[in-house]
Structure formats: structure tokens, C-alpha cells
């Protein structure tokens, strides 16, 4: 009899503990990082930082996974969705579009978010950035610098992995920014292409050296891992480079003058917060720019000294973009029209 009593008490305690855990369960977010995982000093680390911030400030719990290859994405998406414990499952990076397109419709009750790509599904919210705004600022910075050193045919370079719409935003913003502040500057652009456009350091370096020979002594890249080749060339020939996505200035502080920041940490944080508040805009695309902290630029960590007047001018331009007085063009085709409509004073 006594044994049954003890058993009942244990059961009761266990049950109450269970219901307690159920009722007060905090918002839980699942996150599928990109291949490469944590420690990449880029997207994955930034997303992780954003979720950590959400955890610290708002008590949002999160679980994350680091897939080994792109074929793992679908498995992890299904795994997380089938657990039914996550308020939202965050996919990091454009290469999760296909698996998410496949999995999301099969779990209509589960909310998903994708960072860095737009996907039109009723239970998916997409978070993309206005890369053209950050690129505009580093372009303006390059334009000012070319003005300061009074070269005859001021030339700057741009190297992208591929000629695709996503990277066209970088090109458009960069050229518009440079020519907006310095009408005599010329921008040469090249694409890496080939089999591994985002990790082809050798080709990127070749292109950078070629651009340098054509007179470009500030080169901005939108080429992921290939960018390291641009930095190598900058070091070898002693010219300036501009980093992208994360703060790449510390990689070579003597040659990298600034980095355009794609603040995916902001995106991850905003997704977690929206999940907690229950107002995820599923079915919609949220575009983050300078105004909401999704995009920025930084000179931190660079040892190249830039005239404070130039930095102030760039920050003034940043403010006018935030205020909506200036809209950076998001395709290269719009650059000429932008320059005609806007003149820098």
C-alpha cells in the first residue's frame, strides 16, 4: 500500500513538473546553419551571434545544427519540422532554397524563415538585405579617396563571383556611390565564373592583378571565399581592397580599408523576436537595409588612416539614405539614371 502511495506521489510530481514545463515553455527557435558551420567568421557566426543576443535579452531558446554538406539540408529541415517544438525554423543561406521549397509545403503548420534569399511560400518568411546601400557607401568611400589622391584617370575595380541579380546589387551600389561623389571615377568590373566562383582564390587574384594593371588601386569584391585572392593581390602590389559581408578588415589591416556589412545577425535576431511576439510575416519578404541595421559598413580594424572629413561625408550619405533622401540603385541598369537624377553637393 505504502509503495503504491509513494508511486502515486512520484507520478503526481512528475505530471505536475511536466505540465509546468509545458505551460511555461519559452519560445524555441531552430536554426540550420550553412555548410561550413560555426567559426567561419562570416554568415554562420553572425547568425549565431544574433540568436545569442535574442537568448540573452529575451530568453528565447535556440537549437542549431551545422550540416556537413548541402545534401544534409533537407534531412535537417524535416528533422526539425517533425519535432514540432520550434516556433520558427531558420534556414541560413540561398543554398537552402531548394530543400526548403520541398519541405515547407509538407509541414504547413510549421513556420520557416530563410535568410539571404526570397521564397514565396505561405509558411515561409524571407529576410533579404539591401546590399546596394552598403555597397553605395564603400563605393562613395572609394570615390572620395580617388578624389583625394588626384590621379589622372581615377579607376577603381569590382570583382564578383557571378553575373547574377544578387551580386548585381553590389555592383550597382558600388559604382553609383563612387561616381556620385566623384564624377570622373571609372569602375571596371569582372566576374570570376568557372566551377567554384565563390572559392576560386587563384582566379580572383589574377583578375585583381589585371585590374590593378589597368589602373584600379581600390578593389571591392562580392565573391565570398574567392575574395581572399583579391586581398592577396592587394598585399602583393600594395593597393587597397574592400571586404564584404562580415568585417574582413582584420584579415589584412594594412590593405583592407573597409568592409560592407551584411548584418545577418540582425536578421536572425529580428526573426527570433518576431517568433516570440507571434508576428512573423510568413508569405512575405522582409528587406533590411541601413535604416533597420540589416546593412552597414565599417572601417574598424583597418590600420589604413582615412581622413576624418571623408568618413564624415560617407556617414552623411548614410544618413541621407536612412532618411530616404537618397535611394541607391539596385541594378546596374539603373546607375546612369540615378547619377542623372542625383548630384552630390
Amino acid at each position: 500500500m505504502r509503495r503504491i502511495g509513494i508511486f502515486a506521489v512520484v507520478l503526481l510530481v512528475a505530471a505536475s513538473g511536466f505540465t509546468f514545463a509545458q505551460s511555461s515553455s519559452p519560445t524555441r527557435v531552430g536554426c540550420i546553419l550553412g555548410v561550413g558551420g560555426l567559426g567561419d567568421l562570416s554568415f554562420n557566426d553572425l547568425v549565431y551571434a544574433g540568436l545569442q543576443k535574442a537568448q540573452k535579452e529575451l530568453g528565447i531558446q535556440f537549437d542549431y545544427v551545422e550540416p556537413q554538406s548541402i545534401s544534409d539540408f533537407e534531412t535537417y529541415l524535416r528533422k526539425m519540422a517533425s519535432m514540432k517544438t520550434y516556433s520558427v525554423i531558420i534556414s541560413v543561406g540561398y543554398d537552402q532554397v531548394d530543400p526548403l521549397t520541398k519541405v515547407a509545403p509538407q509541414f504547413p503548420g510549421q513556420k520557416f524563415a530563410i535568410i539571404d534569399e526570397s521564397l514565396n511560400l505561405p509558411n515561409v518568411v524571407s529576410y533579404v538585405s539591401k546590399e546596394e546601400e552598403g555597397s553605395f557607401l564603400v563605393g562613395a568611400l572609394a570615390g572620395f579617396l580617388k578624389k583625394a589622391n588626384t590621379a589622372k584617370n581615377p579607376t577603381i575595380g569590382f570583382i564578383a563571383a557571378l553575373d547574377i541579380p544578387l551580386l548585381d546589387k553590389f555592383y550597382a551600389g558600388y559604382e553609383a556611390g563612387a561616381r556620385y561623389v566623384n564624377s570622373s571615377v571609372k569602375v571596371i568590373a569582372n566576374y570570376i565564373g568557372g566551377n567554384a566562383p565563390f572559392s576560386d582564390i587563384t582566379t580572383a587574384k589574377e583578375i585583381a592583378l589585371k585590374q590593378f594593371n589597368q589602373g584600379a588601386d581600390i578593389i571591392y569584391h562580392a565573391a565570398g571565399g574567392s575574395g581572399l585572392g583579391v586581398f592577396q593581390a592587394a598585399k602583393e602590389k600594395n593597393f587597397y581592397a574592400i571586404g564584404v559581408n562580415s568585417n574582413q578588415n582584420p584579415i589584412d589591416p594594412n590593405h583592407i580599408i573597409a568592409s560592407m556589412l551584411k548584418r545577418v545577425d540582425t536578421a536572425a535576431y529580428k526573426i527570433a523576436v518576431a517568433a516570440k511576439q507571434g508576428n512573423l510575416k510568413t508569405g512575405k519578404t522582409v528587406i533590411l537595409g541601413l535604416a533597420d541595421g540589416g546593412i552597414d559598413y565599417t572601417v574598424e580594424g583597418s590600420k589604413v588612416t582615412i581622413d576624418p572629413k571623408i568618413l564624415k561625408a560617407v556617414n552623411d550619405i548614410k544618413q541621407s539614405i536612412i532618411d530616404g533622401k537618397l535611394t541607391a540603385p539596385d541594378t546596374h541598369a539603373k546607375v546612369e539614371a540615378f547619377l542623372k537624377a542625383n548630384t552630390y553637393k
Binding site: 537549437d63 556537413q68 548541402i70 545534401s71 528533422k79 519535432m83
Partner: protein, 346 residues
Amino acid sequence: MTRNRKYLEDVGFSLVAILLSFLLVAVIMLILGYNPIEAYKALFEGAFGSSYSLSLTLSKSVPLIFVGLAVGFALQGGLFNIGGEGQIYIGGFVAAITGLLLSHTIPAFITLPVAVLSGMAGGFLWGGTIGLIKAKLNINEVIVAIMMNYIAQLMTSYFVNGPFIAAKSMTPQTEILPLNLQLPKIIPNTQLTTSLYIALIMCVLYGFVMKRTVFGFEVKAMGNNLHSAATGGIYVARNTVLIMALSGALAAMAGIFEVFGTYGRFIDGFSSGIGFTGIAIAFIGQSTPIGIILASLLFGSLQAGAMQMSMMAGISANINNVIQGLVIVFIATPNIIRFAFGKRRS
């Protein structure tokens, strides 16, 4: 020692080895500051805790069964097929491209078997080449196979990064196969497909060939003693090529059914080591069909469980490789050593 007693001893030995690896990894977790009980709970739930977990365990086991059979078959014939990884990529790629090319003109019920057979033919040739080089030039099959792995993986990687990349895709993968070419799912909304049945059929077939056919007898004779097999009138050179080719076709099936089942398309680097895990599976499973199925289930459940463990306990899914590695060390080392040295001496 009677057969049954040896069998029981083997099973006991395997269980002890598995337990030992779990204990050692628990110690590692403790040192790293994780809670092993919590971790193993998540591991178990991830492998068996729900119908989804079970389906994941099974779908992870299927390719391991194919490669386990492939390596086991070669081992029985005294050959070491470390080229499974390459054969997986070749098989998966050839089958995917054949399927995609034919799907526009020919009905699915013809295209599917043609694609599967062409993928197997790819693996057959890829593995057969290794056997041919060994038979004709007497070059160690291990070295050739390892080099062929690189060729296969990098070549298919080039193809799906370049000429065969899906339109508008920024990731290296082929177009998705039409739905009627993809294997039906056993449980909806999972990656478990009817390839499981095909794997089990292959196990039965493998057992039959090894036990009930002249060819199976020849293979085992070669494995037991190459010289006496040759003296006994077995065409050793021909069989060497044939064994490696068939082993290659079996390994290719792992890739083919990952492509036509699990993923529905060829994705660059999808195998990530299945071919090598297959070696451990064949050793642990003692090259028997039942043993290979059990070993595949063990490793499949570890892989499925590791996903949940990394999510819930924050331990990298790579710890799963440590467990797998230790299981291999504990179980297979004596066997590998016996195999390597036994052969040298003879």
C-alpha cells in the same frame, strides 16, 4: 569451436565493443563539459524516439547496407574495395543523368530501370577497372581505388558545377528528377523510400550467391587461399576483375538510390563518406547479410541520433564520428590486422 558458439562470441564481442565506445565517448563528453546522459538520451530519441526518428534511422541505414554488401563481397574474395565512395558518385551521377535525359521521351516504368542499370554499369566499370589493374599489372587495389575515388568525386563535382548544373541553381546539383522517377516513400514526409526493400532483396540475393552458387564458392575459395584456388582451377585473374566489378555495382546502388530515393537529384558531395563507413560495416558484420544489416542499423541509428544530439545537447554531430570510429577500432582492428597480416604471410 562450434559454429554457434563462435557466432555467440562474435555478437557478445560486438556488444562489448559498442558499450566500450559509448563509455569512452561519455568520458570525452564529461571532459568537454557536456552531460553524457542528456546527450545519449537525445541520441536515443533521435534514433528511435518517434516514427520520424525511426524512418531517419532506416533511411540512413539503406545506403550503408548496399556499401556494406559491396565491401563484404570483395572481402569474401580476398579483395579490399575501398573504392565504394567513388563508385557511389559514379553510380548516382550516371543514373541521374540517364534518368533526366530519358525522362522526356520514354515512360517512367522503362526509364527508371534503365537509369538504375546504367548507374550500376557505371559502378561495374569503375570497380572493374580497379580489378583489371590489379589482375593485369598486379598493382594493389587499395591504392588504385583510393585514387579512383578522387577522380570520381571531383569529376562528378565538376559536372554538376558546370555542364549539368540545374538551371538557375546557385548550388551544385542536377535538375530534380521527375516525381514518377523518384522512388515512392514508405512513410510520407520522410526520406525513407522503397529503396529499403531493394536493399533487403540485395541482402537475400547476396546470401544466396555466396551460399548456393558455384561462383560464390569460387569467391570464398579465393578469399581463403588464393594459391590453392588457382591450383584448383579457378580463373583467379578473371574473378578478380569480376568481383571488383560486381562490388562496384553494389556500391553504386547506394548512390543510385540516394539520388532516386532520398534526395531526388544528384547533389554535389552527397555521399560524404558512406563508402568508407561501408568498410567498417562489412568488417563488423563479418561480411554476412544479417551482420551487415545489423551493423548498418547501428551506424544508421548513430547518424540519425547524432542529429538530435547536436540540436538538443549542443554537442557537435561530429561526435558521432568519434563513436563510430571507436566502434570500428574496438571491433574491427583485430579483424583488419588478421586480414592484412594473414594475407601477407600466405
